[in-house]
Amino acid sequence: MGLLDQETTTRVKNMLADLPAAVKLVVFTDDRHCEYCTEIVQLVTEVAATTDLVSVEIFEIHRDADKARDLHIERAPALAIVGERDYGLRFYGIPSGYEFSTLLHGIHSAGHGHAHLDTQTKAYLDGLKVPVDYQVFVTPTCPYCPRAAVLAIEMAVHSDLVNANIVESAEFPDLANRFSVMGVPLTVINGKERVEGAAPAHMVVDAMRRAMA
């Protein structure tokens, strides 16, 4: 049995039909401990089957440690969404529930390679001199979360200095604890500046300014 029903598969196919460039989904599983690894592999395989332009590569985080290091991935399950270039789009955990939309948005953005952002935000990102680590904590049952995750994706696609790390909080309790995540969405810039809720772009830009100050 597939994870995606027929109707969902058709919608995915339609959404990805106009991808102008190929997108690679690079999955890292963990043989030692992983709740949803099988499902993640199956999910991305089903998504990729809807179009010739999306392909899948699968690695194991310990065996393929070099590859993981290349993609700056330190924990699994992880998913790198790589377009013509690597925009730094990473999803940790299974993109289920509302987060399935985030995955599709990531594929779409990586394929198109351009972002929908207002001019002020773009101007700020264009002026960045140092890398920005952009984390968004989410849960699959949170309807407000895709908005925060999608903003991270857009910014990462626009700027080579920004990466987008979206973390399914329930699967990474250690990370959720380290950043005392008690509500989602939670955006964390450079591991210190926090923005709670689905905040507009200018609030995240402010957090970047504070993180860099």
């Binding site: 969902t8 908005r147 005392s180 008690m182 809720g197």
Partner: protein, 325 residues
């Protein structure tokens, strides 16, 4: 159980533009119902939604009083169906698009502006923006938002597995959203300002009979305390005026809702709580401008009522547009 939702049109096509028969502001149950009727009727229909579609109904775990689902249905799943049904008939949906103003231009032409700077034109516009959770406005509430204070138990409940939780407000929403939290929290205390609960009896019975629940009535919550995260809630017993500190790791606030109407406040009539006055056909005093669902004055804030409102507006719109010609 895993499920996979497509809540957003990632095709990047967005709206086709041009003149719409109906522009619906807000993609909750009310707005999506108008969209189903209007697009099925062949009208060019656009839904603009500031977040993802589904509205407040999507944030609730289990809806048991919406006819047709004898076992109840998850709010998010139900709203997903509303959306698919609207799109099936050609409704265009744009998400993450917040409407910031509505301007009647001439009879049969209303312009809608979004905060992203896009303008859309419609022959009619339907306000279905619903409401958002009210804040208490007490010390600690903003400071600890996301650090133990939350307005969405479905979203954040799982962070409080085995923890002590306080739910402020023992009305329908508070009790309904508290029930699933009771399943995994260590203890859930409901604190209510009134000396009694206004919630449905069936919800009260379920909460009361749960071994991990406690209910406090006639308490005014005055402060949320914490260190780096929430540690407790201060409340005053209104009968004795005594102040108590109740320890808690998490606080969910369900103390009512305020309508999203600021962007039309100079255009339509609002009642004293900010809800829009519209007549039995959902018309506001501006021709071609409608208001439906929770954002309407004197609306009991129920899903089935929103659906009814959405239907009435769509039917009236058909007639209104025919008469324009």
């Amino acid at each position: 159980m895993l499920d996979f939702k497509i809540t957003e049109d990632t095709s990047g096509q967005g709206a086709t533009g041009g003149l719409y028969d109906v522009i619906i502001v807000g993609g909750g149950p009310a707005g999506l119902t108008t969209a189903i009727y209007a697009s099925r009727d062949g009208m060019k229909t656009l839904v603009l939604e500031r977040e993802t579609t589904g509205g407040l109904a999507a944030t609730t775990e289990l809806i048991e009083n919406y006819p047709g689902f004898p076992d109840g249905i998850n709010g998010m799943d139900l709203m997903e169906r509303f959306r698919v049904q609207a799109e099936r008939f050609g409704t265009e949906v744009v998400e993450f698009e917040e409407v910031s103003s509505v301007k009647p231009v001439s009879p049969g032409l209303i312009e809608v502006q979004t905060d992203g700077g896009t303008a859309y034109q419609g022959k009619t516009v339907v306000i279905a923006t619903g409401s958002r959770p009210k804040k208490l406005g007490i010390p600690g509430e903003d400071e600890y938002y996301g650090k133990g204070v939350s307005y969405c138990a479905t979203c954040d409940g799982p962070f409080f597995k085995g923890k002590t939780v306080i739910i402020i407000g023992a009305g329908n929403s508070g009790l309904q959203e508290g029930l699933p939290v009771l399943e995994y929290a260590k203890q859930v205390t409901f604190i209510e300002f009134l000396p009694y609960s206004r919630a449905e009896q069936i919800l009260q019975d379920r909460v009361r009979s749960h071994e991990k629940s406690a209910m406090l009535f006639n308490y005014r919550v005055t402060e949320i305390r914490g260190d780096s995260t929430v540690t407790g809630v201060v409340a005053v017993d209104r009968a004795t005026n005594e102040e108590h500190l109740f320890p808690a790791d998490g606080v969910f606030i369900y103390v009512g809702y305020t309508p999203y109407t600021r962007f039309v406040s100079d255009l339509v009539e609002l009642n004293r709580w900010g809800y829009i006055e519209s007549d039995a056909h959902m018309r506001t005093k501006v021709p071609g401008l409608y208001a439906i669902g929770d954002v309407r004055a004197d609306n009991p804030a129920q899903l089935s009522v929103s659906v009814g409102d959405g239907t009435k507006a769509a039917l009236d719109i058909r007639e209104y547009i025919q008469n324009l010609k």
